[in-house]
């Protein structure tokens, strides 16, 4: 064991490219070794929850998009589902399928950014551009349908804003065909790259009990070896009709729950999403997407907690209604926020350079951490 030196506090951020936004990490150092990491958040705080109390239920939808802006489709999906459960609305089959297709496309897009930027953190630039290239095709599909590339305002309470364009289904099929090949290339380029494995395998190992204790969800939890996915364990929408696997970390290149596992679970989840979309496109029924949209949303007094499996983990909406057109209270359980709390535990005993590798592997979006 090396000689203990005087501890030093180093501030990483808030303006640092590898923090994926405005996050300040207070890193306590003993020489090159990390003793503790304290994340300081709030630089992007926009009072979303308080703001929601002043708006009616429809007007909140565009603001849910702005939480996890890389997975906007899924945020509004979760919100719409929560309010529909509160109101007791049954949406048409077609809407359910469209939402699943959009949500899974969004999952691919979100994971592409996650693994792409992770490559940049480690020092690989090409996979990042390849990821963005493929994400661009998904954004074009979204743009064709609802007119926006990032903040869609698509999943409304009781339906979706626009029906699918006639070209949407063939274009999505074409994209999926292309994307399968692209994913193989991505794997050869980054996943099995020797330098990449050196930087990520056995780094930032998250044991399963720690993950569960901290409430970590999503790919980070699954990488630690637990098969927990709300799409299977607590099925919502029409997810129970599709056949897909839940990828879990196996410690293929190092220990179960290390950075490489967290990275690779995302890659395999994209493959599973492709499967879901293919099945959903085959089963897509006809119908009117606007028929169940209520004219005026005024739920009865009561509350609801509804959760969905966002690309980052469990996204929950807790809504209390006092019988007026505005929610009395709205609480969001954001996966990025909860996943970030485990940061200090993961970094202990690692080197400074590993902090970046660990932070990138838990894939946070600061728009949702701060809300």
């Amino acid at each position: 064991m090396a000689l203990k030196t005087e501890e030093m506090v180093l501030n990483m951020g808030p303006q640092h490219p590898s923090t994926h936004g405005v996050l300040r990490l207070e890193v306590e150092l003993d020489g090159e070794l990390v003793l503790d990491v304290k994340p300081h958040i709030g630089y992007l705080h926009r009072c979303f929850e308080k703001h929601a109390e002043a708006m009616n239920y429809n007007q909140i939808v565009p603001y849910t998009d702005r939480m996890d802006y890389l997975a906007a489709m899924y945020n509004s999906f979760g919100y719409a589902l929560a309010v529909e459960r509160l109101l007791g609305i049954q949406v048409p089959e077609r809407v359910e399928y469209i939402r699943v297709i959009m949500g899974e496309l969004q999952r691919i897009a979100s994971h592409l950014v996650a693994v792409g930027t992770y490559g940049v953190d480690i020092g690989a630039f090409t996979p990042f551009l390849f990821g963005f290239r493929d994400r661009e095709s998904i954004l074009t599909l979204f743009e064709m349908t609802c007119g926006a590339r990032m903040l869609y305002n698509y999943n409304w309470v009781g339906g979706v804003s626009h029906d699918l364009h006639p070209d949407f289904v063939p274009m999505t099929r074409e994209f999926l065909k292309y994307f399968k090949g692209s994913l193989v290339e991505f794997n050869n380029l980054l996943s099995y790259n020797k330098i990449f494995i050196e930087r990520t395998a056995n780094v930032g190992v998250l044991p399963l009990d720690t993950a569960v204790n901290y409430g970590v969800t999503g790919p980070n939890l699954r990488a630690s070896g637990l098969k927990w996915d709300l799409r299977k364990n607590d099925p919502y929408s029409v997810y129970d009709r599709f056949d897909f696997e839940i990828p879990v970390g196996s410690g293929e290149k190092g220990t179960t729950g290390d950075c490489w596992d967290r990275y690779y679970v995302r890659i395999r989840e994209m493959e599973e999403s492709v499967k879901i979309i293919e099945q959903a496109l085959d089963q897509l029924p006809d119908g009117d997407v606007h028929s169940a949209i209520p004219k005026r949303i005024k739920p009865v007094v009561g509350s609801i907690y509804s959760r969905v499996e966002n690309p980052k983990g469990e996204l929950g909406y807790f809504i209390i209604s006092d019988g007026t057109v505005n929610p009395y209270r709205m609480k969001v359980r954001g996966p990025s926020f909860v996943n970030l709390t485990v940061m200090g535990e993961l970094c202990k005993g690692h080197l400074v350079a590993d902090v970046i590798a660990i932070l990138g592997s838990i894939d946070i979006v600061l728009g949702e951490v701060d809300r």
Binding site: G147, D163, H165, K194
Partner: protein, 164 residues
């Protein structure tokens, strides 16, 4: 500190680096013949599809008047309170028109609710995405900047009729 098991030993082929460099350059060469997915933006302009939600505009009829009847629904539905409408009476058939119609483009979040709620198809989202202001007061668009001849937004209205 956890003990790390990391592979350090390289084979002779790996030590030479040349096969790896050739493999890397192979991908570079392959990429050169793939279709480009970037656009040289200021020279080549991105032309959005009809579904695109650019800045909201007021539809100007062939006669030169606006379609808007100043009902104020758009300003009520706007989540970011960006729209201000002041109505007045007119001798035209529609009876009411907006004396003042202002959209604060610093507040607008391009959600498209105004367009969705409009009963007259009078406010639509255009394809205009290049918004530049020199100061804050310039960002408040009045009727002079919002009115757009109906010819320019025809495909958007067509899109709304099909998909809204």
């Amino acid at each position: 500190m956890p003990e790390k098991k990391r592979e350090k030993d390289l084979t002779i082929a790996e030590k030479l680096y040349i096969p790896e460099i050739v493999k890397g350059l192979g991908l570079t060469l392959k990429s050169m013949f793939r279709p480009k997915f970037t656009m040289e933006y200021p020279e080549v302009k991105f032309i959005p599809p009809a579904s695109y939600r650019g800045r909201p505009v007021l539809v100007q009829e062939e006669s030169g008047t606006e379609r808007c009847v100043a009902c104020g629904l758009c300003s009520r539905v706007c989540p970011s309170l960006a729209i201000e409408v002041q109505a007045s009476e007119t001798s035209l058939e529609k009876e009411r028109y907006p004396v003042k119609f202002e959209i604060n483009m610093l507040r607008c979040i391009f959600c498209g609710f105004c367009e969705e709620v409009c009963p007259e198809e009078a406010i639509v989202m255009s394809k205009d995405y290049e918004l530049v202001f020199r100061d804050r007061s310039e960002a408040i668009y009045g009727k002079d900047k919002l009115m757009v001849p109906i010819r320019q937004v025809e495909d958007r209205i067509e899109f709304l009729r099909n998909f809204k």
